[in-house]
Amino acid sequence: MRLHGGVADPSGLDRRDHVCWSYDDPQELGQVTRQFLLAGLERGERVMCVGEVAIAGVTEGPTALPDVDGLLRTGTLVVVPLAATYNDNNNAAAARRPLPERLAFYEDAVTRAADDGYSGLRIAAEVTALASEPTMWADQLLWERIADGVIAGGRGMATLCAYRHGAVDAELLAALSTVHPLASGPGTDVAFRLFFDDDVLTLTGAVDWFGATRLRGLLAATPVNTASVILDLSDLTFIDAAGCTVVAAWGVALASAGSTLHLRRASRTVRRVWGLLGFDAYASIVAGASL
């Protein structure tokens, strides 16, 4: 399974890692971004910096990458201001590129990195501006999940997503953290995580009544395009009746959309609760080996 949970050292992150990094001080983020990208350069990866805050951190001042001009000239470092990546103009709130175009941009960048002889692509993105207004929240959450699916696919796209603590709504930051397998910084220590492992949706940690509402929203917004959806529970340490009800209700919603939900590697307790509450009709519990 992909590395998941809290992380302290950005230089240890590898090809399939996707980390949500909150910060209070831009200088401190500059240090983190520098360490993260330097580790990529050591591995022979192309490094990409998205967002004006992240770009400033590694191109100017004490946290600038060594020989940054040379890296830029050779295309080893690519800088992508938010406007160019996501928007038709400089106003992030007014006009943003639709998610399919964003996805195509990054997939293309991974392909080009490989074509140009790099061992992968490593992305540090400071995207607070894409999560600042309530009208953006659902899109940004969905985007992180689509991106997580691509990163999990293993083509080599280690990604650090930075959000400024206090500038992003607390519940949104928690939800953003939840859909990253890894997280660090204030407001990102969440009880459970929901991310992709290869193409399998994976729920880890503890889900209780207090987290069930978040889980319900995230499951409902999960990008699903297969007739059979697997939810892996091998690292789920706890789930209560409210959490199970949310999962079962998602099974009902998937069924009405033509998909079937299967729970993989469910614990003895989950199996018991599933039977006691009569949820078998909404999501089957399967042995890991059969899927």
Binding site: A206, D208, W209, D240, A249, S267, T269, R272, L276, L277
Partner: protein, 303 residues
Amino acid sequence: MHHDALLYADDAEFTRGVAGFIRAGLRAGELPVVAEPPRQIELLRAELGSDADSVRFLDMTQLGRNPARIIAVWQGLLDECAGRGVRLRGVGEPAWVGRRANELIECRIHEQLLNVAFGDGVSWELLCPYDRRRLPASVVAGAWHSHPCVVDDDTHHNSAAYSRGEVTDVFSAELDPVPDRADRLTYERGDVARVRAAVRTFAQASGLVDGAVDDLVLSADELATNSVRHGGGSGMITTWVRPDAVLVEFSDNGTITAPLVGRLRPGVRSYGGRGIFLVNHLCDLVQIRSGATGTRVRVTMWR
């Protein structure tokens, strides 16, 4: 429903009374279901002969290990009978000889709540045998209290002591005192994960096996969550062990007003209402006491 008690003095009275009741059902085309301890099932099979093939036998020591689980079983059978267009005729002996005193109290409450659950519903028969010689006198007196009709010494009596089982009645039954040496921990919103961790540590230290530890932790989560949501926002957990049992009690300032809480299987599409139902199925004994001064839910795991 017709809810009768059968007070029997010995095996012969038991088998004669129950077999007669079952055969009357078979003649009427009803579905007889017998929930009894294994020994009584063997007695009945011998007495019924080939008629036993038309009877469904359930092990009461399994399904009624916690008496609060039994009503859901009868409800499931009633649903099945409704689907098949047959009438249900049940025999249930939750208060078998050898049960612990606090289990027998919960059996009495269960018997009272049967009247609440099914008293105004579809027509069916339920006969509840009691060993009048070997059970404590208070348990036999309780049968007169919880059954409108009692068969004693082969004679039908309308019980003058019958009371249907109202909230004040069932939620104010006696509880063993909490020992002074019990450990206490208060909790409020944001503390439920801490309650789970504390109960896990306590359950493991008390020698429960892994499955029972997980069951107790899930039960603790559900009950502490109920305190936070419905019990005034906070509560206290008290834990102690006895030679035969591990006990955890949750107390808060809420008041439970639904006497059947946790006893009927929740609808699969409804949100909520599942916590105490699950707790009833995960724990060996669940004792709910509630009134104007607050609620106590005590759960027991035998060891």
